[in-house]
């Protein structure tokens, strides 16, 4: 598993010179895939980067240079593949490339070069069978043509996670409350089937209750991160995951979810030292309310009052040379993005642990959209909301056609995460 390291400025200069000389010596021209407003298909551009890595072609990710552009050796196939996938690119000479590298490495520019060298192995935690909702990450992966495997509880419990660099949690409820859809969908066939299937799965794996299985799965995932895995979660997979970790020693599920009442002292028994990102949150005990806790902002039952015209969030700017990880994760061609709702939309800032990096927030509010943190040797990234290009994506709605949103800044944030594990480990600057 690779991690980012910082190269010392002197080392960079030497490396740059060597690189430039080597480039000149081999007359190796480059292909620049710009990621600013001139890009025709930002999402497929990530797919090109991933495709190149699978072909053994290394890529330089030029952080903060024209929206986080990619520089690749000018193999004929690269240009052809860009054309076929509709990705804008410019063949550039070795001299022009050297000039760009020099600009990026200048001390007074908040830019840096990150070498991507290995296509990450991607897994998505997703239940088998029909789901009445789609998932922004799988939509993005499929549109960008990035290969991924689907994993479910059997595989997680059988320790298959260690075979992957990157794991995304689908819109899954780790609390064992079946998404808290009971009030609206208790009679829906998909809900009934989902509950029966999950109960069988739990019994098959030796658990009496679904909530107990989910807690075990959450622990396995945490162990995966601890040993160097990259976790990415969106929407309610974020808070429900942390809630499951905190509730390891108590029962928070009401009778319609697991057949017995919740522990009346469940709130007091939450252990926040076990969570990744959130602390001191208060559980939503009403089993009929479509909400897990007070982490979610605004609460799900107030979403109707949101105005999409005024709902935006802002990406923070990080120092590319000193904070390359959050810089990578926030690469974009805009820094103010359209908001979008989800079962979990934003995270209440006051409930986020102090060691977590906030990468995007709704300005002027106590609401965080995008955060990142480390646990053990791995990292986790949480991104609120369900579908960046469908403001209020309801259960049963058709999936978003990403060919109509090729330049989606919201979807770009997802794909930044995919390339992040491909980054070559750099030595920390001392």
């Amino acid at each position: 598993m690779s991690m980012v390291r910082k190269i010392s400025r002197a080392a960079v200069c030497v490396a740059l010179m060597q690189f430039t000389l080597a480039s000149l010596a081999s007359s190796q021209a480059k292909v620049l895939i710009p990621m600013d407003l001139s890009q025709t298909d930002h999402l497929k551009a990530y797919g090109i980067a991933y495709w190149a890595l699978t072909k053994g072609i290394e890529i330089d990710w030029l952080l903060n240079y024209r929206g986080g552009s990619f520089m690749i050796d000018n193999y004929e196939v690269v240009g052809a593949e860009c054309r076929i996938r509709g990705v804008a690119f410019s063949p550039i000479s070795s001299a022009d490339a050297a000039q760009i590298y020099a600009e990026v490495q200048r001390d007074d520019n908040n830019m840096d070069v990150i070498r991507l060298e290995k296509a990450p192995k991607v897994a998505v935690y997703v239940p088998p069978g029909f789901q009445p909702w789609d998932d922004a990450v799988t939509l993005a992966l499929e549109y960008a043509e990035i290969k991924y495997d689907k994993l479910w509880d059997d595989e997680v419990m059988a320790d298959k996670l260690s075979e992957y660099d990157w794991l995304h949690l689908h819109h899954e409820d780790f609390t064992g409350q079946y998404g808290k859809f009971y009030a609206s969908f208790a009679q829906a066939s998909w809900y009934i089937e989902q509950q029966v299937t999950l109960e069988r799965e739990a019994k098959k794996l030796g658990f009496r209750k679904v909530s107990e299985l989910k807690k075990a799965v959450a622990k396995k995932i945490k162990a995966y991160i601890g040993s160097g895995g990259f976790l990415f979660a969106m929407c309610s997979a974020t808070d429900s995951y942390d809630i499951a970790l905190a509730a390891e020693n108590t029962d928070i599920c009401d009778v319609m979810y697991d057949g017995d009442p919740p522990d009346p002292n469940a709130q007091q028994k939450l252990d926040f030292s076990r969570t990744l990102a959130f602390t001191n949150f208060t559980l939503e005990k009403n089993p009929l309310r479509y909400e897990y806790s007070d982490i979610d902002q605004p609460p799900s039952d107030l979403l109707g009052m949101q105005n999409p015209e005024t709902d935006y969030f802002t990406l923070f700017e990080f120092s590319a040379k000193f904070d390359p990880v959050p810089t990578m994760l926030t690469q974009n061609h805009v820094n103010v993005l359209k908001g979008f709702l989800g079962q979990t939309t934003n995270f209440k800032k006051s409930l986020i642990k102090s060691n977590v990096t906030i990468m995007a927030e709704k300005q002027g509010m106590d609401e965080v959209r995008y955060l990142h943190g480390n646990f053990g040797r791995g990292t986790f990234t949480f991104y609120g909301g369900h579908d960046p290009e469908d403001y209020q994506h309801a259960v049963g709605d058709p999936p978003t056609d990403l060919s109509l949103h090729k330049n989606s800044p919201g979807y770009r944030l997802i794909l930044n995460n995919i390339l992040f594990p491909a980054a070559k480990k750099k030595q920390q600057k001392t």
Partner: protein, 619 residues
Amino acid sequence: MTRPCIAYLLVAGLVVLSLRASSQTSDANNRYRLAQSYEQSGDFESAIKLYRDLASADPTNYMFFDGLRRSLLHLKRYDEAIGLIKSRLAQSPNDVNLLCMYGSAYYQSGNEKDAITAWERAIAIDPANQNIYRLVANTMMENRLLERAAEMYRRGRVACNDPNLFTMELAQLLAVTMDYAGATQEFLRYLSQAPGQLGYVQSRLAQFTDKQEARTAAIQVVRAAQKSSDDVNLHRLLGWLLLEGKQYDDAFEVYKEIDRFSNAQGNEIFSFAERAYKEGAYAAAAEAFKAAIDIPLAPQRLPFAKFGYALAMKELSVQADSSDVVPQSGSVPESRSRYATAIDYFRRIIAEYPNTDHAARSYYQIGTIQFTKYFDLDGALASFNAVEQFVPPMNTVLYDVFLKTGEVLTARGDTTAAAGRFRRVVAASNATPDQQDEATYRLAELEYFKGNFEEALRLLQTISANTKADYANDAIQLLTFLQENSISSAAPLKEFAQADLLSRQKKYSEATTALQKLIDKNPQALFVDDGLMKIASLQTSLRQYADALATYQRLLDQFKESSIALDKAQFNIAALYDYRLNEKTKALTAYEKLLADYPASLLVDQARKRIRELRGDSL
């Protein structure tokens, strides 16, 4: 003491006692309400305290006991709850409700073994009592023991010696647990008890028959049931299931059986045929229409079946006709025999039902085939004219016939007669807006062919104003072409229009020659690129693929960046290599050239898709 005095004292004593008892009852009631309030507010500890006091004071009161039980379970104090129920059971050992609660408390505490024992005790009290099985099964379902609950219902059925017991309960439960075969068996059992409920059973089955595996399971069960029963409901259910799965051939066999069983004289088969036709299953539809005709169907429905059969045969011919090259006038088309069956059948309908709506529609179908598939202009005109002979004015079929007749007359060069037909559609008050738009567009074309560009422009503007109209795109295309060329090259444009008319008349060679001469004579005209595109298209129709490639290439070389048709020309080169010459490598290169040279073209998505198909990418 006097008697009245004693009586007074006795009455007063009784009143005091009564008041005291009443006061005690009232106090218990108040405390019970308070306990309930505590329970509802989630303060189970306080509720337990009060309920316990109340229950101690009045151990026989069920409400006090039940409140205490509920509150203990809420706090997961399972041992106390079990003890409480146990002590009450000691007073009423045969109370089935208590035994069910007892089992539940054990189950929730994690002790499944003792839970089962308690529920078995309840059954043992009266092993042939169906209500006990129902109570126990419900308790199991509350505890999400769905498979066990189903098993309990089955046991009850055997023990009560009633094979029809719990039918709907089991059917619903098995459907929920995704035992689709089991659920279907129960629904069939219900149907045998209530034969009039087929629609209801179908609606219940429809909960899961959208899933392939569920439908397959249901079909297997119904087929198995048919082996031991001739019930027509089973056939209907099977036919419905097969149609849900679009298994038309199998469904047809079933509907034949239904028709036979119900002595429907072909009506069931006819209904099946209509559904199959609507859903595009033309082979099954044709076979079914034929079967219904052969039975024969009642006389009033027979012409509908015959017309349906002929239409289905025509659609099958269309599906089999892969040639998109329309034969030139006078040539013998290779696929002439392909539509012969359909035409023969339409002619039989005309003969059997003369001067009817079916005859008119049959003529229309024959004429359309003759024109579009055979380019048999005389034959088509004769067919369309026949409709005009007997169909009364204002019949909307007539407007479709006029439109087609106008096209045929245009192809014959009789533009005056053609215009007459189109004008009748435009003037008809009951023609549809689509029919009127088409007629207006055809009139504009005729004006263009005649060189009356101003009139053509006027007509085209009326259609293009409504961008929702079906003909709006065609109108805008011709409008743009005329606006671009009618002022600067009015005279040559007339020659261009005449060549276009030749092309419409399938005189491809003459049209090609005329266009080539025109381009040679007017090398600077704005229409040269359009002319080259038309020539290449005509050469393609004439299967002169090498010439077509050369013409497209000439366009690309000559115009470089000054024509809006360049990307289309490059795409057509790729398509010629791809589909006509079967030279896939050259096709790939040509598609890639389109992407490289014309990245903003509307055709790039198609080119990209085709490249990926040719490369064998998994899209």
